[in-house]
């Protein structure tokens, strides 16, 4: 019975602290808006950089999948020698997949690819149907591993087996490498921007709460004298700063998702973006992004206001 009453009183007190926190937020309306605006920018950059990283990362993976090392074989190579090369490639940790393309398969692929270019096909028939070499098409486990695969094929014991090597389509590889550097740049610059804006947010919230403490110093003193606990005095400031985080977090999530939907719906038709767009706009992803952004806002708000409270509220000295 006594415990029930105590819990009831704690709930009533929590409700009052929350209402007081909201009231204080409106009392310092302009300072609150400034604090929320900067926090909105910081959280917006944070969420947007996560979205960009996921998008570029997935696009690179998607592009890398289609990139293969083509190892062309000598026309005279015996099957036994070819199998030695195949085993060496398969044994490598850098190899993801190996496909053997026979001379006939190469011919069929070429004909299919250039079926609209009658002159090219006629030219191929002139030089002979078996003029295209057999090859191994090897996928690497990552973009950086193509050279390792090339080194296997270039070993001296495969001199009579391997005719030439092509490291994927050169233009595609260059695009992927550019995308990877862009992703690196986005990650580095967004971490820097998030840090800068988070520090600015902390400073602005710190000052907002500091001013609120000074404005209410007499009231706080009176509250102490009539028996308010430190938590009763501290609580509204923490609630106020948490609300900054909640509002800024919600607005940042809405804004970033508005950008994702408006820009992403156009890109979603391209294979390398379709999966990412579906992942980002899935209801669960939206909820997780929103909750994490809001929580990040609350953490920044509580951290900044706690700094101001510990420095200026002097609750240790009653």
């Amino acid at each position: 019975m006594q415990k029930d009453r105590s819990i009831k009183r704690q709930l009533i007190t929590f409700n009052r602290l929350f209402i007081t926190g909201v009231t204080n937020l409106f009392r310092n309306a302009w300072l609150s808006v400034a604090a929320m605006a900067v926090m909105f920018v910081a959280l917006g950059i944070l969420l947007f950089s996560v979205v960009l990283n996921i998008t570029t990362g997935n696009a690179i993976t998607e592009l890398s999948r289609s990139l293969k090392v083509s190892i062309y074989l000598e026309d005279t190579v015996a099957d036994a020698d070819r199998f030695v090369l195949q085993e060496a490639l398969a044994a490598s940790e850098y190899t993801a997949d190996i496909e053997y393309v026979s001379k006939d398969d190469a011919q069929a692929r070429f004909t299919e690819s250039f079926q609209n270019d009658q002159e090219l096909i006629e030219g191929l028939q002139l030089v002979g149907d078996d003029s295209l070499p057999a090859s191994y098409e090897v996928s690497a486990t990552s973009l950086d591993d193509f050279n390792e695969i090339e080194e296997i094929a270039l070993r001296s014991d495969f001199d009579g087996t391997v005719e030439s090597i092509t490291l994927g389509r050169t233009d595609a590889r260059r695009t992927i490498e550019r995308a990877a550097s862009a992703q690196q740049f986005i990650t580095t610059s967004s971490v820097f921007a998030v840090l800068v804006f988070t520090i600015i947010s902390v400073l602005i919230i710190f000052n907002t709460i500091r001013i609120a403490i000074f404005t209410r110093s007499e009231e706080i003193k009176n509250m102490k004298l009539i028996g308010a606990t430190p938590w009763y005095i501290r609580g509204p400031f923490l609630v106020e700063a948490s609300i900054y985080g909640v509002i800024a977090g919600v607005l940042a999530t809405i804004t970033v998702y508005a950008i994702v939907v408006s820009v992403g719906s156009g890109l979603a038709s391209q294979a390398e973006f379709q999966e990412t767009y579906e992942l980002l706009t899935a209801p669960l992803s939206v909820v997780i992004a929103g909750v994490v952004t809001v929580l990040a806002g609350i953490v920044v708000g509580i951290f900044s206001s706690s700094l101001a409270i510990s420095k200026y509220l002097r609750l240790k000295h009653w």
Partner: protein, 225 residues
């Protein structure tokens, strides 16, 4: 019961505000503490509310030994003692009802309990019908009544009134004293500090005189000397 045993309060090495003060106040007593400005009256009251900590000596209120009091217990101590200040210390952005209710809000009373209790206390101090007034709309005497209502709304065993009539004209001052007497009749121990000679002489209560931080007289039915 209030007990002070050889209590000393020093600010710095040589500045003694109180020197080996001993005082014993029984429950339901009405004690007036007098003395010139700077004599140590307010310091004595600040020690009782733990705004200040004694340099040496022992203070016990009820079963609370101040030497064993932890910081986290101080709010609980203050909830047991009602305090009235000369400058009222009302919350300027709250009306009469809210100022009194605030003392109940901080201890977690429900709105229902507050709506039941506050009007009764306002009636005791003669402020019924003025619940919605804001502090700037009240006279000094009315502000002090609000402060008294706030101090007694939690029904403390002890009420400390630090020169509550200091800012009031004689009529309002006497009204406040009558309210304090009424509260004392209900069973609350009252400690009153004042400069008002007329009040001291009319009340004919126990008078403790402090001078230069020492108790120089303690008379059961004292007069202003």
């Amino acid at each position: 019961m209030i007990l002070l045993d050889r209590v000393t309060k020093q600010y710095g090495k040589d500045a003694s505000a109180l020197e080996r003060i001993s005082l014993h106040v029984e429950p339901e007593e009405f004690v007036i503490i007098i003395g010139s400005s700077g004599a140590g009256k307010s310091t004595l009251l600040k020690l009782l509310t733990r705004e200040e900590k004694q340099t040496s000596g022992k203070i016990v209120i009820g079963n609370i030994d101040y030497d064993k009091l932890r910081d986290k217990d101080i709010p609980l101590l203050r909830r047991r003692i009602g305090v009235v200040f000369q400058d009222f210390k009302l919350l300027p952005n709250k009306n009469v009802f809210e100022n009194v209710a605030f003392a109940l809000e901080i201890v977690g009373h429900s709105n229902k309990e507050i709506k039941h209790t506050v009007p009764r206390v306002l009636k005791v101090v003669g402020l019924d019908g003025k619940e919605k007034r804001m502090p700037p709309e009240l006279s000094g005497g009315e502000c002090q009544r609000v402060a008294i209502a706030r101090a007694i709304v939690r029904q403390p065993k002890i009420l400390i009134a630090d020169e509550p009539t200091g800012n009031l004209d004689p009529k309002h001052a006497w009204d406040i004293i009558k309210i304090l007497e009424k509260i004392n009749r209900y069973g609350t121990t009252v400690l009153l500090t004042t400069h008002n000679q007329e009040i001291v002489n009319k009340l004919k209560r126990r008078v403790v005189t402090i001078s230069d931080g020492k108790i120089i007289s303690d008379k059961a039915h004292g007069e202003y000397s």
